[in-house]
């Protein structure tokens, strides 16, 4: 038997067969393809308007179309790759099957490699959906085959690197929730804050420089760096996999705070003060559990966490001074992170009880299904408020010393941001809870929530853009009102009102629409609580 025919990849085969057998694989691909074609169509339409209505006017502009397509695919990788990869090992840990895999002759390195390869192949399936569009762009001319090769190579490097990072997170963390958040936080942080020192090692940096560098040969030095990081991350993942498979669960931040509590208690004892008595549940046991034992929903812990974050934010904003436009990037970085945390926690709210097999027991107690959701939501609201604090600090800090600027501060869209934070975020939280109730598998619920949110928010932005195009880049009349249906409309409306270009009707309409949607989703979750919680 030759060396190659004896190579066996059982885990890779199993992962791909499972993936192929799932109906949602094909649904996700169709959604991805439709979104891609839709956005590409809008851009091509806009370019046709710019260069003239006739099709021939686009000849020679294929480079721009390809570059746009390339960036869309890069965004797709940043969204999809962590979602499909973060649960690769954590799900095995949660079901106890990772230990069984580690007992087979497959080494941790082989396990990591096969899991990673399976996700890379799945992502490749998504990326080839863009080939017909790339062919169309190529037909318009204006860019070389080398540019095409370079773009494809950068995309390949990007998903190899993002996948390796997500696999590392999956190997490290005990729970899917933690791995999911860590993978996205890592990817988003690097995406927004590419530190110059490590930029040459990041594929995302190559994405932003592709247009200027252009050829595949010029990219080679960076490609070597990126491949090196991929190898390093996979090696680290392999070396920690067995150790982390045995690690106990639990929230490490919570562990640190509990350690601090013990330290303070000891200090109190030494000073002769009364020791803090451990509280027991009185009337709302689920809320008590959430506040005290389950998550960072404890006010004392949240304050400990928020104080250093607030000091950092305030210090930074104080240093850069001026209007919010100077630190807008901070808002753009924090808002998706907050949305992501809400989506993950919201979908896990009930899924956690399901996977812990405690929901059935809870449902046979005197607590009504509606009350179970209400008590759980108290904790999520507390976290939501805590997450809003840094966001509001970023948004409202420019008002310090000039309170009259609210809503009319030139380029500072304070009103819009405040409305987005106060209405859209609770809406996202309830949406995530509803998805978590309907989809009983935790990782599936999380991925669905993330993808649905991206489609909803992204689709809204595209609609806004289309309305702007149709209206000749003037937000007036019906286009203005229609735009109120898009979730991120306040990010632009507040700005327009601030500069006195628009009446407040669309803002009121947006608030009414989104508050109504929030109330409808909340009502559905609570009124159908029994049926939704009893879903097997």
């Amino acid at each position: 038997m030759s060396r190659w025919t004896s190579v066996s990849l059982p885990l890779l085969g199993k992962e791909l067969i499972e993936h192929a057998n799932r109906r949602r694989t094909y649904v996700a691909r169709v959604i991805y393809a439709v979104a891609l074609v839709g956005v590409y169509g809008v851009v091509q339409l806009q370019m046709s308007q710019m260069y003239g209505a006739q099709g021939a006017s686009l000849l020679g502009q294929g480079g721009m179309l390809f570059e746009f397509l390339f960036r869309m695919q890069a965004i797709g990788i940043l969204i999809v790759m962590p979602a499909i990869t973060a649960g690769a090992f954590t799900q095995e840990k949660e079901t106890g099957s990772l230990i069984l895999l580690l007992l087979t002759p497959l080494t941790p390195a082989k396990l990591v490699l096969q899991k990673w390869l399976s996700r890379v192949l799945i992502m490749s399936g998504f990326l080839v959906l863009a080939l017909p569009l790339a062919a169309m762009a190529y037909a318009y001319g204006g860019f070389s085959a080398d540019f095409l090769v370079a773009g494809s190579a950068v995309l390949l490097l990007l998903y190899l690197q993002v996948g390796a990072f997500a696999i590392l997170m999956s190997a490290w963390f005990r729970s899917t929730v933690a791995a999911f958040i860590a993978a996205y936080v890592g990817v988003m942080t690097v995406d927004f804050l590419v530190p110059p020192a490590i930029a040459p090692w990041l594929a995302i940096d190559m994405v932003s420089h592709l247009g200027s560098s252009g050829t595949s040969l010029q990219l080679w030095p960076n490609a070597r760096h990126v491949l090196a990081t991929v190898v390093v991350m996979l090696v680290i993942a392999s070396s920690v996999l067995a150790w982390r498979a045995r690690a106990s669960g639990g929230n490490p931040v919570l562990g640190i705070f509990r350690g601090l509590d013990r330290l303070f208690n000891r200090g109190d004892e030494l000073l002769g003060r009364r020791r803090r008595v451990v509280s027991l549940p009185v009337s709302q046991p689920i809320a008590w559990l959430e506040f005290n034992r389950r998550s960072l929903a404890n006010w004392r812990y949240l304050i400990r966490l928020l104080v250093p974050i607030e000091l950092l934010i305030a210090g930074y904003i104080g240093l850069v001074s001026g209007g919010m436009s100077n630190h807008l990037w901070l808002y753009i970085l924090l808002l998706p992170l907050v949305v992501l945390v809400l989506l993950v926690l919201g979908t896990s709210l009930i899924a956690g009880e399901r996977s812990g097999q405690t929901l059935d027991v809870l449902l046979t107690t005197s607590i009504s299904p509606k009350s179970i959701i209400r008590q759980k939501m108290r904790a999520l609201y507390r976290i939501l408020i805590a997450l809003c604090v840094p966001l509001l600090t970023v948004v409202l800090y420019p008002l310090v010393g000039r309170p009259t600027a609210f809503g009319s501060s030139g380029d500072d869209n304070i009103l819009g941001h405040v409305l987005t934070i106060s209405i859209l975020l609770p809406l996202m939280a309830w949406l995530a809870v509803w998805i978590g109730l309907v989809i009983t598998n935790r990782i599936r619920a999380m991925v669905t929530a993330v993808i649905a949110t991206v489609i909803w928010l992204g689709g809204g932005l595209i609609l806004q853009f289309l309305l702007l195009m149709v209206g000749g880049y003037r937000m007036e009349g019906p286009a203005n009102l229609l735009s109120s249906f898009t979730p991120l409309a306040m990010e632009t409306y507040g700005l327009l009102v601030g500069s006195g270009n628009m009446d407040a009707t669309p803002i009121v309409l947006w608030c009414v629409l989104h508050l109504s949607l929030l109330l409808v989703i909340r009502h559905v979750c609570l009124s159908r609580a029994a049926a939704l919680l009893l879903r097997a």
Binding site: W288, R293, R294, Q357, D360, V361, L362, T364, I367, A536
Partner: protein
Amino acid sequence: MSFVTISHLRVRYGKFEAVKDISFEIPKGELFGFIGPNGAGKSSTIKVLATLLKPSGGTVTIGGVDVVKNPAKIRRNIGYVPDFFGVYEDLTVREYLHFFAAAYEIERGKREGLIGDALALTDLGGKIDAPVDGLSRGMKQRLSLARVLLHDPELLLLDEPASGLDPRARIEMRELLKELQRLGKTIIISSHILHELAQLCTRIGIIEAGQMMAEGPLEEIFRRLNLMRVVHVQLVNPTDALIAAIRAMPGISGVEPQADRLAIQWREGELAVEDLHDAIHKLGGRIRMFQPEALDMETAFMKLTEGKTA
């Protein structure tokens, strides 16, 4: 008067029918064993009783209350122990039980006393400040029982409570269930470990492929099936003539001489065990040991079921 009444119960998961038109009744204070192979429909039936699953058809009442129409009232009167033990991380036994005392809306002032009583009954008093995570499987199962005793329910629903327990933990569990029955609880226990239920249950129901094959007191089922029972008899004078005379008695199906005893098969419907004892004595047999074998549940099960799955 029946305490639990199940009438024409059907449970459907999509196109698959897990429970097919089963009916039976359980009187108050009975320990009812629900027997069947994996996938027979035991857990589905128990989940309907626990208000966790809506039946596709039929009616189910507990103490005269319909489980579908009034689940909140039912929940106050039942204690459900699933076949798994879902752990809340980082809770101590005290916190765990206080959590469920609050969940069952027990008055605050009564909680400490009730928790103490439940822990004493389940022999976990010394573990009150131990983390739940660190308890053995047997202790966790006893803690589950302590949990469902807090609100003093009339009906206990135990789904495979002995699965995964070691022999000592099983015996402890069995003794605990007997004690609970003595306290007047009605208990429904599902299992596929037959000899365990034979030692414990006053009534049994045998279910296969979603259909009830037999239900009632164990003796009645044996009578209905005309099953042989076996008694082990050690005689001081086991002569061939005596063995032949026993073999010729009405109701006796066979006598098998073993190393130190006779294994006598008899039909319980035709000959009471006490009469068999008297008859051997009258035949001149000097009895050193007379031990009827526990009802052979495995025989009943094998006779009633065909190894089908739903």
